[in-house]
């Protein structure tokens, strides 16, 4: 049976009890703080790893996307070193819907086609001063005299509807339903004029000269993957370099620790310095964290990681 006792004299904690409690609490708090600090360190280190790897991935995936489509025989590689490359980067492609040699213009097939042919696409719409390459069928009915003609866009206008200066239905490349106001044909005046053997259906590539390199940014003294593009008649013709991924490890001799290392191989697998022989490009990106990391609790070390990608050029013929 439970009996309640009224107004009992309350006794306090003894000094020993308090001390023992404080010691236990202190130990517990210390353990918690250590755990938290380790967690904080681990979290920071993991974030650093992710950030560094992300930068490496960004650098390693950006270049191949641009490089795969270049034509070695077409002279697309302008300059190449172990830490930089200048080349014609294709930012769009199309098919000539109409070609007017005398008027020095061509028109593109609209971007959206009900049949899903995707004959025209681009990252950014072509503009005045952009460069194009057009496929020239040549006089011979075979392909032996076929080639690409380069030209510069001098004027751009948008043409909608079933219009012979745009992309008419008669070209058979579009249907009437494709020719909406929001889906124009690009009427491009070019210099020099298309040849008489550049015909309807000819392939068109839009390109700009671009530059990628391992570059030391003056602002923070760190090394980055830098990028700029060049457009004729623009002021300035070439933009100033901008960091697009990094920081990477500083430049060093090939085969050592350079943040960006490019090696060029011909079709036999031998290293080559001849631009027209390049069939494969080996890309190594070596990243470096902005701070040291400490995942194990041992000494803090700078994070270094790397990625290697082999880029086979798709236009080798």
């Amino acid at each position: 049976m439970l009996t309640l006792t009224a107004r009992h004299r309350r006794s306090g904690f003894t000094l020993v009890e308090i001390l023992v409690t404080l010691i236990f609490m202190g130990l517990f708090a210390a353990a918690m703080v250590k755990l938290l600090l380790r967690q904080q360190r681990f979290y920071n280190s993991t974030s650093q790893v992710i950030q560094t790897r992300s930068q490496i991935r960004q650098a390693a995936f950006m270049l191949p996307a641009d490089l795969r489509g270049i034509s070695r025989l077409g002279g697309d590689i302008v300059a190449m070193t172990d830490s930089s490359i200048d080349f014609r980067s294709v930012f769009g492609s199309s098919v000539a819907c109409m070609v007017n040699n005398a008027g020095a213009w061509i028109s593109t097939v609209p971007v959206k086609l009900a049949k899903g042919s995707a004959m025209t696409n681009w990252k950014v719409a072509p503009a005045v001063n952009d460069s194009i390459a057009m496929y020239d069928d040549g006089l011979n009915i075979g392909s032996q005299d076929d080639g690409w003609r380069l030209a510069r866009i001098t004027a751009v206008s948008l043409v909608t509807g079933d219009n012979v200066t745009g992309c008419p239905v008669a070209s058979k490349l579009v249907q009437l339903a494709d020719l909406t106001v929001s889906n124009p044909s690009y009427h491009l005046t070019i210099s020099p004029a298309p040849t008489t053997t550049t015909v309807q259906g000819s392939s068109i590539r839009f390109f700009r000269r671009v530059h990628y390199s391992l570059w030391k940014w003056p602002t923070d003294g760190k090394w980055y993957l830098a990028y700029y593009d060049c457009v004729p008649n623009r002021v300035p013709v070439c933009n100033t370099a901008q960091p697009i991924a990094g920081p990477l490890r500083p430049y060093a001799a090939p085969g050592t620790t350079s943040g960006l290392e490019l090696t060029y191989y011909d079709s036999t697998g031998a290293v080559t310095a001849t631009k027209t022989l390049v069939a494969r490009i080996s890309l190594v990106v070596r990243g470096q964290g902005e701070t040291t990391i400490n995942l194990t609790g041992a000494a803090a070390l700078p994070l270094r990681d790397s990625m290697r990608i082999e880029i086979g050029l798709r236009n080798r013929n």
Binding site: G116, I141, Q144, S203
Partner: protein, 378 residues
């Protein structure tokens, strides 16, 4: 037993709850980091798989090419094919016929279901050209033999499509006749010679490579791929298309050399362009056909015979009688000194890039155009 109920105060519960929360935060932080990394890796893998699928689509479309599509697909027509890649990837390829021997193929590779929010997609394009024999026709007629033209003969190098043929891209005008500088040409009677220019003498006309080497192929390889082979000394009368049950019937004798008279509603033999090889002399009279005609000896057309396409004769060429018409181009190599070219009667030789491309492309497989055929489709 007496139990005394007292107010109990302490921090154990609070401390335990605090520890649980802190540990939860720690685990959540780690999980977040690891999940982020996993997602990035997973996305990279999906992108790679989609890339591989798109490439597979472009490769398969050329490997699985059907020659029937060379003629069946007209400018603007599309062909859609799907392929499964390993690892769950898929590729959908849309091929669009352009003018002439060109096709535009765009391959859309997916990793995962296209309707899924986690699917990755890549698109690549490839401009294809039918890898035709690279015959160097220097004019409507090219010859290195002594040439005699009499009667009501028309030789025209201005490019024109055969009557009734649609889907022909405009081509280039060529010389009417291209002859060797070392040979002679005698023209009498009511002869019409047109072209750009009407006639030229060129060393290329005396080069045997012009007649027998065609880039990646040659006369022998074409002959080896012939659909119809005749012995030397063959005389054919009444060559014409043969259709049974709506199907074009390939036939050596009676000879079916396809239907050059294309109508609005395509006939069954309109798209039949055989390679015809004759192991010696050939004489034809009355009839019609299309394709590539290879004659190892002399070729005689004895009246009322029409042929659209490419004619290559190792020996001499003789066309007599009325109603003879070749639309496309003719090359007579005249390999022997007595192999001459004699065009008489009512005879026409008209240059047509459309007829040539149709005939040469009928048995050709596509390959990427030079230098910049492949392109990333954004």
């Amino acid at each position: 037993m007496k139990r005394i109920l007292r107010s109990e105060r302490g921090v154990a519960l609070l401390a335990a709850l605090g520890a649980i929360v802190l540990i939860g935060v720690i685990i959540a932080g780690v999980l977040f980091s690891v999940t982020q990394d996993y997602r990035i890796s997973d996305n990279s893998m999906r992108q790679s798989r989609a890339t591989a699928s798109a490439e597979l689509g472009l490769n398969r479309i050329t490997v699985d090419w059907s020659l029937a599509d060379n003629q069946r697909l007209k400018a603007g027509d599309t062909l859609k094919k799907s392929f499964a890649a390993s690892g769950g990837g898929t590729a959908t390829v849309i091929v669009t016929r352009l003018a002439g021997p060109y096709f535009w193929a765009v391959s859309e590779g997916y990793s995962g279901s296209p309707k899924s929010s986690t699917a990755a997609r890549r698109r690549y394009g490839l401009m294809l050209r039918l890898d035709m024999p690279q015959m160097n026709f220097l004019g409507a007629i090219t010859t290195q033999g002594a040439t005699t033209i009499n009667g009501n003969v028309t030789v025209n190098g201005n490019d024109a499509a055969p009557a009734g043929w649609t889907s022909c891209a405009p081509g280039q005008n060529v010389p009417g006749a291209a002859i060797s500088p070392t040979t002679t040409a005698t023209v009498n009677g009511s002869v019409t010679l047109n072209g750009n220019p009407p006639m030229i003498t060129t060393p290329a006309a005396s080069d045997t490579n012009t007649y027998f080497n065609y880039g990646s192929s040659n006369y022998q390889s074409l002959a080896a791929a012939a659909n119809l082979t005749y012995p030397g000394g063959t005389l054919l009368n009444g060559v014409q298309p043969i259709i049974a049950g709506g199907t074009c019937v390939a036939s050596l004798n009676p000879a079916n050399w396809g239907e050059p008279n294309h109508s609005i509603v395509p006939g069954a033999c309109d798209s039949y362009f055989p390679i015809i090889h004759v192991l010696g002399n050939l004489t034809v009279t009355t009839g019609r056909g299309q394709g590539i005609l290879l004659v190892d000896g002399d070729f005689t057309v004895a009246g009322n015979f029409a042929f659209d396409g490419a004619v290559i004769v190792r020996g001499g060429l003789k066309m007599t009688g009325t109603g003879n018409k070749i639309v496309g181009a003719v090359m007579a190599a005249s390999v022997s000194v007595d192999d001459n070219v004699a065009l008489t009667g009512n005879t026409s030789i008209l240059y047509s890039s459309c007829a040539l491309i149709s005939a040469l492309s009928a048995n050709a497989y596509p390959k990427a155009i030079r230098q910049r055929g492949w392109v990333d489709v954004f």
